[in-house]
């Protein structure tokens, strides 16, 4: 067991160390400064921008300073930036919806996969366009190779880039003084795609293939096993998709059971690389903020606050899973290697628990163990991660959520000490608080109302012939399955308690709508907030100002997150996982 704690600690420390490097790189990319990869990637960026018709507005020279480079392209205020974001996403939705609905007749379908049924296609495309990657289909039977490449992997790149672009724009708004423009959406989107995700995805993809993840255009093979049985083995274009699913906090797997499948995640080293890929960009984003607002101390305070939420959850989940199953122990079976139902031998309980917390803290949603089979309190931790939705968080959006909590914490702290709340020298007033509250409150509303409606439908329409209906598990755990599904949809996470029979019109449409609203409300409201703050003058800080880059503020922020989280979600936590734990 002790080596498992070592492996968990090493993975986290390695990711933190490398995030310092990538955070600086991302700052340079978005500020238009020179980087080592420019000779290869800048021509590609220019090519894409020229093709879509976004051209430098004056002069062709590349400035060295941030302001010069940003001014090169047509600038957008928050409304135009948001409009570009929405329209691009609508177009992507329509194109990809068409592809999966026609995949039977499109090329690259060696296994003869059928067209996707409309409510399932609505759910799937909404899920991937919103960077959620909730999957009500199973990859090996539900999607052709063409769809996997041109719908799934494509969206996994561009939706992650959409989140990153939005976050960069919000930070520009906070950093600027008397600023009306937040940047150019397509320039940010292209830079995120071509200069951040593409090189990282190629690198991780090569490592995964080396470890054993397949990459072939040929169809499934049929083996004659040692005992003479036939075994059909699904393969495909796996490595490229697994790579970007992790880096873009997408999480949608190639195969049904995601990164528990030995093809998606063949070795402890591939597991290490994937765990790294899940958090690396969200962690780096914090350092990027520090560079953009020219306050390294603020980045340290925010990073420490996130760690102070993340590390206890990891430690608790590892303890729970390593503790094994009391019911199996009662049968006389040794539980010293932990609870192993739904887990793989090559990872063990410790690295599975680390992944479960990491994938939900970051809105990734890939799994390397079946979450439905986690211990009750071990399974509570992924839900907490999705409820808070800001511990490192999804690419871009997680950090935006954290900024919302920062605004709220600034407001609360300001009220407590009787001063006008301000952040980065800007007054936080009623309009900003309204926008922050809208972004903040949508989340529990979607989860709690969604779960309540699902419970009502389940209770009133259950088929008497099958007492459990769409649930795989009885009692509080069944409640948790429904709660988890809506938490996952609202947090744009995508993992699931997969015992839920979720490919029904109700679940497809309800979670599809929740995913769409839970993606765009928490992006547009903060962009508006950034627009409002950007226009205000930044007042110089005085001795009387509330300083956001102090440990005291870090603690206040931590407490605000914990208290708000408890107020919103403690009751459902008690009804589900905690009741299950107490009853076992």
């Amino acid at each position: 067991m002790s080596t498992e704690y070592l492996a968990v600690g090493f993975t986290i420390l390695f990711t933190i160390a490398t995030s310092l490097v990538l955070g600086r790189y991302m700052f340079k990319v978005f500020a238009g400064q020179r980087t080592l990869l420019d000779p290869v990637l800048v021509p590609m960026e220019r090519l894409v921008l020229r093709f879509i018709g976004v051209r430098p507005s004056h002069g062709a020279g590349r400035g060295d300073g941030a302001s010069a480079a940003e001014a090169e392209y047509d600038q957008q205020d928050w409304k135009r930036y948001s409009l570009s974001l929405l329209i691009s996403n609508v177009v992507m939705w329509l194109v990809t919806f068409t592809i999966v609905s026609l995949q039977r007749v499109l090329p690259m379908n060696p296994d003869g996969i059928a067209n996707m049924e409309p409510t399932l296609a609505f759910n799937t495309i909404s899920s991937f366009v919103t960077n959620t990657n909730l999957q009500h289909y199973s990859g090996e039977t539900g999607l052709s190779y063409f769809s996997q490449m041109f719908v799934i992997s494509f969206l996994q790149f561009v939706t992650a880039a959409t989140g990153l672009a939005a976050c960069i724009a919000v930070i520009r708004g906070l950093a600027g003084s008397r600023l009306t423009q937040l940047g150019n959406f397509y320039v940010d989107l292209t830079r995120a795609t071509v200069r951040v995700f593409l090189p990282l995805a190629l690198l991780v993809g090569v490592v995964l293939m080396w470890q054993g993840t397949p990459m072939t255009f040929e169809g499934a093979v049929t083996a004659t096993t040692l005992e003479g049985n036939e075994q059909t083995i699904a393969r495909g274009v796996v490595a490229p998709e697994v790579s970007i699913k992790q880096l873009g906090t997408n999480g949608g797997g190639y195969f049904g059971p995601n990164s528990t499948h030995p093809y998606e995640n063949p070795t402890p080293l591939s597991n290490f690389v994937q765990t790294w890929s899940i958090t690396i960009i969200p962690m780096s984003m914090v350092w990027t903020l520090g560079y953009m607002v020219r306050r390294r101390r603020l980045a340290v305070v925010v990073f420490a606050t996130m760690l102070a939420l993340y590390l206890p959850m990891v430690a608790f989940a590892v303890m729970q899973e390593a503790g094994g199953s009391p019911a199996i122990a009662a049968m006389g079976v040794d539980q010293s290697t932990g609870s192993m139902e739904g887990k793989e031998v090559r990872f063990g309980a410790g690295l599975s628990a680390l992944w479960a917390v990491t994938t939900t803290a970051t809105s990734n949603g890939s799994v390397n163990a079946m979450h439905d089979s986690l211990t009750p309190l071990g399974g509570l931790m992924p839900m907490v991660g999705m409820w808070l939705n800001n511990i490192f968080g999804g690419v871009g959006v997680g950090f935006i959520n954290m900024l919302i909590f920062i605004i709220v914490a600034v407001f609360v702290a300001g009220m407590m000490i009787g001063r006008t709340p301000e952040f980065l020298g800007k007054k936080v007033e009623a309009k900003e608080m309204k926008l922050a509250s809208l972004a903040l409150l949508w989340h529990p509303l979607a989860i709690l109302v969604g779960t309540a409606v699902a419970c009502y439908i389940w209770a009133t329409t259950a088929d008497p012939g099958s007492a459990l209906g769409w649930l795989k598990n009885p009692g509080p755990h069944g409640f948790s399955e429904m709660l988890y599904e809506f938490s996952s949809a609202a947090a744009n996470n995508g993992s699931g308690f997969e015992g839920l029979g979720d490919n029904t019109p109700f679940w497809n449409i309800a979670t599809g709508l929740v995913m769409l609203l839970s993606r765009y409300i928490p992006i547009i409201a903060p962009l508006a907030l950034a627009g409002v703050l950007a226009a205000k003058p930044a007042a110089p800080e005085t001795a009387g100002s509330l300083s956001a880059d102090s440990p005291t503020f870090g603690f206040t922020l931590w407490a605000v997150i914990v208290i708000l989280g408890l107020l919103m979600f403690l009751p459902v936590a008690v009804l589900g996982p905690i009741a299950e734990h107490l009853a076992r």
Binding site: I52, T190, M209, M215, T375, E580
Partner: protein, 191 residues
């Protein structure tokens, strides 16, 4: 507005070609050149080039002369994979665990406290190719008896087929069941 639409359509087109097409082709090319076996799915072929299976994908073993894989929630169906998704206190789950335990107790004549937890629980993807060394050790006597060879030869093969954690601390020690069974057939003759 029309300009916005034009940007959106063109961006979708160009990145679809670049990422859906180009990105995949580059990795496919690297795979062909550098890792042809892995890229193909780590398949194992017989001398007559028929496929035995993949060394990453668990097979169903029931005969006494072979080491058995971990239980699978999908009966080792590698075309439609998954776990059981049973919660830890689900009565159906506990019944399944008890049945697996009884089966292992009977086939290997052991007490419950000698049975590693991995052999009574289903893996995540249903295709876990590994078992812990203790689970191989547990089956050694049965395999040796069925093959009519000294148990020390079987143990020796288990030892040489045990993989250590990567760098000594990442992941767990494990034995690849298909590799081990193939080695048994090769060293001790196919039954």
């Amino acid at each position: 507005m029309l300009k916005e639409l034009k940007h959106a359509v063109l961006f979708t087109l160009v990145t679809m070609v670049l990422l859906g097409g180009g990105y995949h082709l580059v990795l496919w090319g690297v795979g062909r050149v550098a890792f042809p076996s892995q890229a193909d799915g780590s398949l194992i072929r017989r001398a007559d080039s028929t496929i035995v299976g993949s060394r990453l994908i668990a097979q169903k073993f029931t005969r006494p002369e072979y080491f058995h894989s971990r239980p699978s929630g999908v009966d080792y169906n590698a075309a439609s994979t998954g776990g059981t998704n049973y919660g830890p206190s689900n009565p159906d789950h506990l019944k399944a665990v008890q049945e697996r335990l009884d089966a292992v107790k009977a086939s290997d004549s052991v007490q419950p406290n000698q049975v590693p937890s991995e052999m009574v629980t289903a893996s995540g993807g249903g295709l876990d190719p590994h078992i812990p060394p203790a689970a191989a050790e547990l089956q050694a006597a049965r395999v040796a008896t069925a093959r009519g060879v000294p148990i020390d030869r079987v143990r020796e093969l288990i030892r040489t087929h045990t993989e250590s954690p990567t760098f000594g601390f990442l992941g767990r020690a494990r034995v690849n069941v298909l590799d081990l069974n193939l080695a048994m057939d090769e060293a001790l003759g196919k039954r």
